[in-house]
């Protein structure tokens, strides 16, 4: 409970700031749409190929968009050193990181809600019958992306070449989550659709491990 209050306060601040600027959601959405449209026109997939390659393309696009979106989450605190003000406050440092993770999750989730219908149309996929189970995969996959991405955005924000460093750190580490998300999504597009408990388990384990590591070492992430 001691953590919930500052997390709520900081999450509200993140959402309010984004609502005013609309920088992160707008750029992420545009980027993912461009990638999916380009993939669609480049490969011109048939219905079978869409079911086979669509999930991988979707998650790759989300991964690239995530690495683009996560980068400013800490660097935009640097212009007025507002992160220093948050570190000065009598709150656990992990509350700052957790609020950022939840905010990034919200931003990416909004982009996904808009993106999915476009993805279904472009790749001629029937997502509506599996939307509930697909939501579960998206939630777990997006959470994994946001946990790892936010942590590494915090680490790389103090480094030189930070724009290049984040994707270099992020992409290899997220490979298990990417594979599990793509495989679980592919199972939902088969006939009949099936939600793989194995891949869902992998995603849940991935999220739990990185959330625990973040909770244990969160205080060191924000130190100068």
């Amino acid at each position: 409970m001691a953590l919930a209050r500052p997390i709520g306060i900081l999450l509200a601040k993140e959402l309010r700031t984004e609502f005013r600027t609309r920088e992160l959601v707008a750029t992420t959405l545009v980027f993912v749409l461009i990638v999916l449209v380009l993939f669609s026109f480049t490969f011109d997939p048939t219905a079978v190929e869409s079911r086979r390659f669509g999930p991988g393309l979707l998650w790759l696009a989300l991964l690239f968009a995530g690495s683009l979106m996560l980068h400013p989450s800490f660097t935009r605190e640097q212009s007025n050193e507002t992160l220093m003000a948050l570190r000065m406050a009598p709150i656990e440092p992990v509350a700052i990181v957790t609020a950022k993770i939840l905010a990034n999750f919200c931003f990416l989730a909004v982009a996904e809600v808009i993106l999915l219908p476009v993805f279904a149309v472009l790749y001629n996929l029937k997502l509506w019958p599996v939307v509930g189970r697909l939501s579960a995969v998206l939630i777990l996959g997006t959470l994994g992306l946001c946990i790892v991405g936010t942590v590494f955005a915090a680490i790389s924000s103090q480094a030189r070449m930070r724009e290049l460093l984040l994707p270099l750190l992020l992409l290899p580490l997220l490979a298990p989550a990417l594979i599990a998300s793509a495989e679980a999504t592919a199972g939902l597009l088969e006939d009949p659709p099936a939600l793989s408990t194995v891949w869902i388990g992998v995603l849940a384990t991935f999220d739990t491990i990185f959330l625990t590591v973040t909770w244990l070492f969160g205080e060191y992430l924000l130190e100068e």
């Binding site: 500052p6 306060i9 900081l10 601040k13 309010r16 700031t17 005013r20 600027t21 212009s79 007025n80 050193e81 507002t82 220093m84 003000a85 948050l86 570190r87 000065m88 406050a89 009598p90 709150i91 656990e92 440092p93 205080e219 130190e223 100068e224």
Partner: protein, 231 residues
């Protein structure tokens, strides 16, 4: 406080040994890069000493943990930067920090803090539309919102005009009158120096002169001002 701070092989602070009594107002003077900001950040628990420790009334607080959180509640800090969110209004910035400091009725506290800073009529304006001087007033109002017992100021008169200097001097005088301990870096030329009871001069990360052991704070501040104007 008794500590060293090293970044790689370079010492930002070396053999710092400073004991400050409650209610003292200490001016840190010295050239750029002399270690004033490092000392203030260490006192604010923003940096972890490489050796030694910062201690508050017998409570050690070098890192995170229960002690640090309890101590942070009573520290106000004004940095070179504004520490404000440009995309939030002045009132929203103050409400945010009032809530993080666990104040009851944060909105009322924020409105009450805007008034003495002369920003009551601009509370609903975004900070990005403020002038440098207005931002600095808001920065100081933010640092004072939780009624700190230790106020740390890194060149607080930056960006303030003549009236702003006078406002800051009066604000700090009223804070000092409550028994709040104040430590600030200064170049010597400001109304805020009126409240100074002790001056400490730093050079290359070390304390080289302390008015508590020799000399007067006024003379040290005058010398610092002369040196600053020469530079």
């Amino acid at each position: 406080m008794q500590f060293d701070k090293r970044y790689g092989a370079r010492f930002a602070a070396r053999d710092i040994s400073l004991s400050i009594a409650p209610g003292e107002c200490v001016a840190l003077i010295g050239h750029n890069g002399s270690g004033k900001t490092t000392l203030l950040k260490a006192a604010a628990l923003l940096i972890r000493p490489s050796a030694g420790r910062v201690q508050f009334s017998n409570v050690g607080a070098n890192g995170a943990g229960e002690n640090s959180l309890a101590i942070k509640r009573y520290i106000g800090f004004v940095s070179h930067s504004t520490l404000l969110y440009d995309e939030l209004t002045a009132e929203e910035n103050l409400v945010l920090f009032a809530r993080l400091y666990g104040l009851d009725s944060a909105e009322e506290c924020a409105r009450a803090a805007l008034d003495p800073a002369g920003l009551a009529s601009r509370g609903n304006d975004l900070v990005r539309n403020f002038s440098r001087g207005m931002r600095q007033r808001l920065t100081i109002a933010r640092a004072l919102i939780a009624a700190p017992k230790l106020l740390l100021l890194d060149e607080p008169s930056t960006g303030l005009d003549r009236a702003g200097h006078q406002w800051l001097g009066a604000a700090l005088a009223s804070v000092a009158a409550t028994g709040c301990t104040v430590m600030m870096s200064t170049h010597g030329a400001s109304e805020v120096n009126a409240i100074v009871t002790r001056a400490v001069r730093l050079l290359s990360g070390s304390i080289v002169e302390d008015s508590a052991s020799s000399g007067s704070p006024r003379a040290m501040l005058a010398a610092a001002l002369a040196a600053h104007q020469e530079a």
